[in-house]
Amino acid sequence: MNPFSSGTRLRDMIRAIRACKTAAEERAVVRKECAAIRSAISENDQDYRHRNIAKLMFIHMLGYPTHFGQMECLKLIASAGFPEKRIGYLGLMLLLDERQEVLMLVTNSLKQDLNHTNQYIVGLALCALGNICSAEMARDLAPEVERLLLTRDPNIKKKAALCSIRIIRKVPDLAENVLSQAASLLKEKHHGVLIAGVQLCTDLCKVSADATKYLRKNCTEGLVRILKDVSNSPYAPEYDIAGITDPFLHIRVLRLMRMLGQGDADTSESINDILAQVASKTESNKNAGNAILYECVETIMGIEATSGLRVLAINILGRFLSNRDNNIRYVALNMLMKAIAVDSQAVQRHRTTILECVKDSDASIRKRALELVFLLVNDTNAKPLTKELVDYLEVSDQDFKGDLTAKICSIVEKFSQEKKWYIDQMFKVLSLAGNYVKDDVWHALIVAIGNAPDLQGYSVRSLYKAFQTSSEQVSLVRVAVWCIGEYGEMLVTNVGVLEVEEPMTVTESDAVDVLEDCLTRHSSDITTRSMSLIALLKLSSRFPPTSERIKEIITAHKGSVVLELQQRAIEFNSIIQKHQNIKSSLVERMPVLDESTYIAKRTSSSQADIVADKSTQPSSAGTSLKLPNGVSKPAAAPLVDLLDLSSDDTPVPTSTSNDFLHDLLGIDLTNSSSSGTAPTAGTDILMDLLSIGTTPVQSNAAPEIVSSNKAFAPTSKPAPTTVQVVDLLDGLSSNGSHSEAQTPIYPSITAFQSSTLKITFSFTKQPEKPQVTQIQATFMNLSSDAYADFIFQAAVPKFVQLQLDPASSNHLPASGNGTITQTLTVTNSQHGQKALAMRIRIVYKVNNQEKLEQGQINNFPSGL
């Protein structure tokens, strides 16, 4: 040993790693070793290359990066000695994969070694090639491998055969070249060659139909003979496993027979006898025998077997299924899945046993059995099976509930023949495992309820009852909330009671209790709570006696820290307080969604994205509003529907979802149709919200919202792209101070806009005087008449000083054909603590008539 070598022996390194008590220690040891190996590599140390790669293999196994050793492997492969080559090839297979460019460099060494005189070296090269070769290498080296398929040595032959599998998988065109050689491999005696040959033939069948034809013709007999030989062979110690000679070969042959017999009556017929022999004679008390029987049954199910043979196979299946060994039961379930296509009657006979397996304690068996039950369900047995599964749902493991729920839901949806059954089952599932139900499932349920007028009362009452016991199941709660909101009166007045129902008395305040409970419960998510708010709004018009209480609940949420809830509460509050006249039409029932189009939509989008899926839901009033203001959402039809109800006074020609907000606020503008229809190029409808100043009604409403809202005002973002959104939010907020905007660049804002006038502010600030802001105001006339004697006035809070410079003109041309600019200098004495605010007043003359517009600007970028 080289005394100057700093490296440790492999043994010592492994000991050191084993001695590590923590992951950190292990990392330290590995880092040290890697450093030593790296320096050895850079010094081109030949003596320890071999050892270094062995170390790297170990380090690689532990999961550390070892790419720096890749070139060393190539050097080892290129060296002459067998041990070096051996470890080099092993390193190559472990440390490299075919994406590595290094692989190109090894092609030449491989080619040399494939032509080596030493059979072991040839074997090494074949093995490496078989494990790692890329398509390019496959093309380069295929001739060598084809030649090696013809050698005498069985060890080389078997490896060449497996190497060919990799090659034809990478380059299917090369399959033709090995076809005849592959067929002749099946005439060999050596088991290794046979098993490799059989696998090569199987792969040839996979890549080419011509090959399948060829092999059917030339190999069927050979396969029968092989199988006969191994199954009848006397004791062969080398290949014996539990009294059976080479079960692996059995299985591979049976598998190839399945490929060849599939859809081919002649081949199937010629292998019928041997399959019958294997199926009836193989011992089934050991694992090896069962493995063969398992494969044999699969083959019988896969080919055009005679009915007698099928009966034999089905009997084996029955035996497997009743076996006490869980492994055997597992594969039995697997086989039944395949058998169901061939003989579903036979599988149906085992239904009870399979149902028992669904309830097994073993997760793997449960999963298989559940898949199988799902395949077994048909119109006649759907009801009892669903009942069984639903009953089991109650007691099943938590981690199995997800799978089970999904399957039950899809069975119920697929096989329901009557609505009531569907609704009943879904309610059961929701109350047992509502937390596992996917959104689209309960959305579909709501659509179904909406389409069943005679069951709506029943549904809402059942849900009310279920809620009392299962209020922790999210999706149950959501459906209940939705139904109470929509059909609340049926809950109280007991409309459409079915015979099966028990009579119950629910008062109006009980129904409100449920919703209040959902709203205040901490565990409830925002979606549920938002839905509850909507439901409350609806109830407030349906249950007049409770409207005072509902108003209180809604008012309580005006201060919610959750933006979504806060916004809803404020909007709903203003509907309740100010717009009693339209409230009842506003909270009418949701229009019924057409069930068939809904289902079609759902199936088409079920694999697409969830977002799209959600927007088709009837309850998207609950879901789509999750995004602040729903601005970025695609158009959602139900929303528009809702809005249409309110559009009696404000005609809304557009139908983008943005209209929702627009209209909701448009409610305030009931007598100003001009702003509702303002054609601002359709770009920023939200901008219309700022037309707040146009009518007296509006300007009164705005400050009040501001006041209610101060404490929880959302901070605005000074990004130019979101200006419209900011405008909206700021219309409601007092613009809380913002610390991050220290840069002296501020986005311009639209300070004021009405149907006739638009004012934009742009800001400049000198860094040394943070309190002082110069505002350049630009006025634009949006009407078709020119304005004369244009005067702009502004007022600011006491802590701000304002200086107005003369305007550039007092005449504003029509239709935006010119602007007036005016500079304002603002000094904020409480800079950084209080935000800027401004009231403005504009006076001008149109056709000699005096006009006045005024408003408040709260949407200044923060930091001014």
């Binding site: 293999m57 067998f82 692996f248 299985i251």
Partner: protein
Amino acid sequence: MGIRFVLLVNKQGQTRLAQYYAEHLTLDERRALEGEIVRKCLARNDQQCSFVEHRNYKIVYRRYASLFFLVGVDNDENELAILEFIHLFVETMDRHFGNVCELDIMFHLEKAHFMLEEMVMNGCIVETSKSNILAPIQLMDKAS
């Protein structure tokens, strides 16, 4: 395809041998996969079946003393045969090392790999005779 990977893991969940076939996993993916599988398999008891479904693999596992042998296979592979294969692998190592234990595999990792290499190529079983598998290894031992 057949076998996708062979893993040897001890009771503590430390990997003792890992061989992947035609699986291009990055180091992180590999570590994550091994961790998930090992957690799943180690949590199961003796009565439960030896098969676990994970991602798109089926894992056939068998426990020998403190070592777990885990073989990831395609969904259409014969699980029972893989169980037999694991046993064959253990018997082969046993014949070579004599009462093979975890330490034998740790300190002779390359030998264990050589054996596996003789048995499986590119995910296909290539040799099932123990003496055929061990012949090249013994030859090399004699030469060195």
